[in-house]
Symmetry: C2
Subunit: 339 residues, 2 copies
């Protein structure tokens, strides 16, 4: 397995984005986020997503020069048009605004319509937590999953993120509404393996852990069956109603790639406006202690809080380098003009 | 199957609550909510919960005279001490305040600490939707489920609700973090049936759809495996940090019944402060149309939006009467002094 240093990966991605027409500053931030995603083990939305992103820019599906414009200021709530600018930059801006508003009022909500793929949603949870804020954010997407009871695709996987800042390591949940991503299915199939648990229905309508059978049927499973299906629908509707933008059904019709003209919601809360640091520290410590003192299901099993494994992967990848798929890495180097 | 009219059920529950020491007005509201839960098909938290609730009052675990007191007013965010008052009344109050704040500012967040079991969380989503507000609310609970990777109980099932108002029927998601409740396990076991899908692990650590095996192991499954586990942890922490109250670990130590001194968060948003009614109607219509035009997984299968089946059950139960378990109904009549 090839491993690449953080700095080399970031510089290479940055050059690819510069070549695609991004400004120095924007390419730098986007390259950092893609590299951090790979660094934290979210390979699917890090280096692996660069080629597609450059393709979207080329097709005019992302306007590299666009910035969010304020549509409505309601004090603690601000609504922006993302103007089809880079999803990462729009989302960083929106979460930053949410934290600024929360600094003033305790809570801030920023919604974005008409934005583009934000890549790894967790990045914006970590961003807020780094600044000391509790955060909730989510996006809607094009449809990629059948709603419960259906076999044709009609709902998005609408990633949902919650973050709580903590000195010893932030507690961050970053989950899509499907039990597994299509990326996970293909990686598992290529290794000739089965999924850990059933991940969808086969063509005959039977639950299966065979990734290839699900890729064929396109009947990927919502997490928790009807629960993840319902959650996806509500996340979609609320993001559209809070931003005045497109629902999943609208994104499907708009048809400019994954998450083209999607809607996002960013909520930040300043926990120190409500409690003392001591109260917060105790609540977090008590909870982590309760989790960690659980009896592991398997001998020598370890119990992790949400976000802990990302930190472990981060540490390892910073020490050893970030693992890459050689063909993906060669392609990004090519986009950077380095071969 | 015995069916009881809404009015008879409500009057009987009300009398049981009056006998337990509740005031006329409070008993009326609590009886209405319990009856509405049964009416909508949420039998576990309607009539079936009355006996336990009266028991909690008798033990002093619920203070029937307590009302929420404001601890902090931050404009769009208000923090209340529930003073261990009736969970239903505290929650109705909190969601009402959230909608009042949202009427003024667009968004309102009310948190409650030191409150008691709110029964059916969905009730407060429907409440906000009836008034025309988008709503998000959740509660933490005592631990009742192993965190992912563990076999001992350490996390709550922390119900989470999202609601969107809609003329033709509100869209309401009301879900706990466990795939199935213990109530569902016991009902299924008593019918000698299997669960529709695996609902936990047996003592040997194998996934199983045998409800009795899960009741024995107490290894109930979080929805979506690690996803529901992580979601439960974040909902717990954020509710405690937003209200200054107890985490699940703290509720476990407090040990005054289910949800004794729990924390809750109520968020309301006025969608008409952001969009026209026409925009909202179109977004909802387009989404419902996309769901309804899906190809059903089973021949003659029907596809429902979240909340639709509650409405269907409501209509049926208002026509035919609300079905009751005879022994439960006799017990509540006894508490009402009617036998």
């Amino acid at each position: 397995m090839t491993r690449i240093s953080f700095e080399e990966m970031k510089a290479t991605i940055k050059q690819a984005f510069l070549n695609a027409g991004m400004s120095e500053e924007k390419a730098d931030v986007c390259a950092r986020i893609h590299t951090e995603s790979s660094r934290d083990g979210v390979y699917s939305h890090g280096l692996n997503r660069v080629e597609r992103y450059v393709d979207y820019i080329g097709r005019g599906w992302v306007d590299v020069d666009a910035v969010p414009t304020l549509e409505k200021n309601m004090g603690t709530m601000e609504i922006y048009n993302g103007n089809m600018g880079p999803g990462i930059l729009n989302a960083i801006f929106a979460m930053d605004r949410a934290t600024e508003i929360a600094s003033q009022f305790g809570i801030g909500l920023v919604s974005l319509r008409n934005t583009t793929h934000w890549m790894r949603g967790g990045a914006f949870g970590w961003q807020a937590a780094e600044k000391g804020f509790v955060a909730i954010c989510w996006t809607n997407t094009e449809s990629c999953m059948p709603t419960w009871g259906a076999k044709s695709t009609s709902i998005g996987n609408n990633p949902f993120i919650m973050a709580v800042p903590r000195k010893e390591g932030h507690i961050v949940l970053d989950m899509a509404m499907s039990q597994y991503s299509y990326g996970k299915l293909s990686v598992t199939r290529l290794k000739n393996e089965k999924l850990p648990y059933a991940g969808g229905f086969d063509k005959e309508g039977q639950l299966t852990d065979d990734p290839g059978a699900i890729e064929t049927s396109r009947r990927i499973l919502p997490m928790g069956y009807w629960k993840g299906s319902g959650f996806a629908i509500l996340l979609d509707l609320i993001s559209a109603l809070l931003s005045g933008g497109l629902t999943t059904a609208g994104i499907d019709k708009f048809d400019q790639g994954s998450c083209g003209s999607c809607c996002q919601v960013f909520i930040a809360i300043d926990p120190l406006k409500i409690n003392t640091q001591e109260f917060i520290d105790n609540a977090l410590a008590e909870t982590i202690a309760q989790l960690k003192s659980s009896v592991p299901a398997n001998e020598n099993g370890e119990i992790f809080y949400p976000g802990e494994q990302s930190l472990k992967t981060r540490k390892l990848n910073m020490e050893l380098g970030i693992p890459v798929d050689d063909s993906v890495w060669e392609k990004v180097k090519e986009l950077a003009g380095l071969k």
